[in-house]
Amino acid sequence: MAALEMRDVSLTYHPAEGPVPAVRGVDLVVNAGEVVGVAGESGCGKSTLISTVLRLYPKSATVEGEVLVDGENVFDMKWNRMRAVRWGEAAVVFQGALHSLNPIQRIGNQLTEPILLHDKNATEASAAKKVRELLEQVGLPARHANAYPHQLSGGQKQRIMIALALTCDPSVLLCDEPTTALDVMVQAQILDLLKGIARERSMGMLIISHDLSVLASNCDRIAIMYAGRVVEQGIAGELFAQPAHPYTRALMGAFPTIGDVESRYSPSGLAGDPPFPGDLPSGCSFHPRCPIATDECADADVVLKDVGPSRRVACIHVEQGAVV
């Protein structure tokens, strides 16, 4: 059984201006011990996708499909059960580590709180012991339990956020842009740490990021989202070596390989801007920006199809067997 499984998940927001379909039919599996990355630009629905796992979306939003955490559909859960699953079975490392910690509470207190709330058998002493272990696991000295957030650097705070998410031994860890606000060197440290934790605890991990290059070297599998849909999905190394969807290819081109003579003095980008999810183009949502679009693309509703042994792509111009 997968740690996390999404089956045809859709989520639509309903602001006064009319419905905004932010996620449209996403299938995704994260197995225990596996790191899965979701990449896409702002507005592509990746954060909304994470919000469906713990039902963190606004009440007015409508959802469809199934999200299974350890085989149990979160959309069917009673409120009490949902509260136990949040943090207990699936936890989130949010983007703004710098603002997610309480500035007037010692780190140790912030870490023991969820342990005492979720585990009926926990005592102050056992929780404190666990906090020391967690701090060590995320590479911080145990004495940091006595520190206040302002005494720590950005990278250290992000480590605390990871420890915080691990307090109740979840089986799924959802990371929303875990390294975006951090420096390059610290970013590499944090990604190493996350990968190690997923392996050690054989936990399922879902990392979302706008930076494909961050995911490529740290995930087992990757899904690329555009306008609320997954447009390409495959094994990280293979996808990076041989991207098939024109959008994936454009994203890869945006970050040059240093040493590649062709990209010197010629940055490559994609004309136009990502579409607003409330007003999507007809047919394939990517066709107005696509370098290989034809007339057909504006009509056909494009769905994911297998194009190789472990690759699925949503593009009518990518043939079966295009990826080997």
Binding site: E41, S42, S153, G154, G155, D183, V184, M185, V186, Q187, A188, Q189, D192, H210, D211, L212, S213, V214, A216, S217, A250, L251, G253, A254, F255, P256, T257, I258, G259, D260, S263, R264, Y265, S266, P267, S268, G269, L270, A271, D273, P274, R289
Partner: protein, 344 residues
């Protein structure tokens, strides 16, 4: 080789920075030496990438070049003239040296239309033909036809378009130099290339000089002629982009390069810890406590280990062209392994 690099270098210096020191007094009485002895010469039409981790002093250096910080010692010269720190002189100077910041949403007043945002500079400087200037600047920044954007507000634009408006605001003053602080790091990946291409185009068409402050070595590879790597207030390596990135000399540059996620097949050198504190700069080479060559015994084998923690590497001179081509620029590193200390 690209057309830009084949061209001979202009020998005209636009901005020169001479032994610059910028200090801030810290909360607990200490003094933070944010920029601690930097030399830099920027030629007309050059694109320079100033790279380093946060806290290395790259933004302070850029702000000092703009006249936003006053140096503790050393000087900034513009076309050979030392910067004067009077209101009138700075106003005149800033018409020529413009700033573009990381986050276009934060740079734009949400209640000002695109026209007002771009017209603010020319109006402040009492320039004639305001509407014409705004239209030309917008169209140069790739917002065409410009009239269509005049009355729009920032919230109606995408992130990429907002950054183009900010760039247009700078262009409206016909500056000689644009200093861009992380110009694409808050933009979506697909938009990034377009903005970088715009910067190259502006250099080509207007002869603009660009100093790009960034942590992104990929960006440097994409557009910069020259790279200047900073660590804790000092330049540790400088040279033509191709040389520095394909043959990095300083251990810090090698570490920075190895963590660029695209570098497959290169063993990652993940430095422990974060950039140390500028109020408490280590003795000797300021990088030695984190240096992988010290940690792995390479410095000891080379017989410079003692020097690493006691002798301060010489401050690099401004990179001056040996010949007339970009490729002839000297490539230097402030490291005892590269340039043995006098005693060794």
């Amino acid at each position: 080789m690209s057309a830009a690099a084949e061209e001979s270098l202009s020998t005209e210096m636009v901005v020169e920075v001479d032994d610059l020191h910028v200090t801030f007094s810290g909360r607990e009485g200490g003094t933070a030496r944010a920029v601690d002895g930097v030399n830099l010469a920027i030629r007309k039409g050059e694109i320079i990438a100033l790279v380093g981790e946060s806290g290395c002093g790259k933004t302070t250096l850029a702000r000092t070049i703009l006249g936003l910080e006053k140096p503790a010692s050393g000087e900034v010269r513009f076309h050979g003239e030392p910067l004067e720190y009077t209101g009138r002189a700075l106003k005149r100077y800033r018409k020529n040296v413009q700033l573009v910041l990381q986050d276009p949403t934060g740079s734009l007043n949400p209640r000002h239309s695109v026209y007002e945002a771009v017209a603010e500079g020319p109006r402040t400087h009492g320039m004639v033909d305001e509407a014409g200037r705004v239209a030309r600047a917008l169209s140069m920044a790739g917002l065409r036809p410009p009239e269509r954007f005049f009355l729009r507000y920032p919230h109606e634009l995408s992130g990429g378009q907002r950054q183009r408006v900010v760039i247009a605001g700078a262009l409206a003053l016909d500056p000689d130099v644009i200093i861009a602080d992380e110009p694409v790091s808050s933009l979506d990946a697909s938009v990034r290339g377009e903005i970088l291409a715009l910067m190259l185009k502006l250099r080509e068409e207007l002869g603009l000089t660009l100093l790009v402050v960034t942590h992104d070595l990929g960006l440097a590879w994409n557009i910069a002629d020259r790279i200047v790597v900073m660590y804790l207030g000092r330049v540790v390596e400088q040279g033509p982009t191709e040389d520095v990135l394909s043959n990095p000399q300083h251990p810090y540059t090698r570490a920075l390069l190895s963590v660029v996620p695209e570098m497959h097949g290169v063993e990652q050198i993940v430095l422990s810890g974060e950039t140390p504190d500028p109020t408490n700069i280590p003795s000797g080479c300021r990088f030695h406590p984190r240096c992988q060559e010290v940690r792995d015994g390479v410095a000891e084998e080379a017989g410079v280990l003692a020097a690493c923690s006691t002798i301060i590497p010489a401050i690099l001179p401004p990179s001056i062209p040996i010949g007339a081509n970009v490729a002839d620029l000297s490539h230097e590193a402030a490291c005892h392994l590269v340039v043995p200390p006098p005693s060794a």
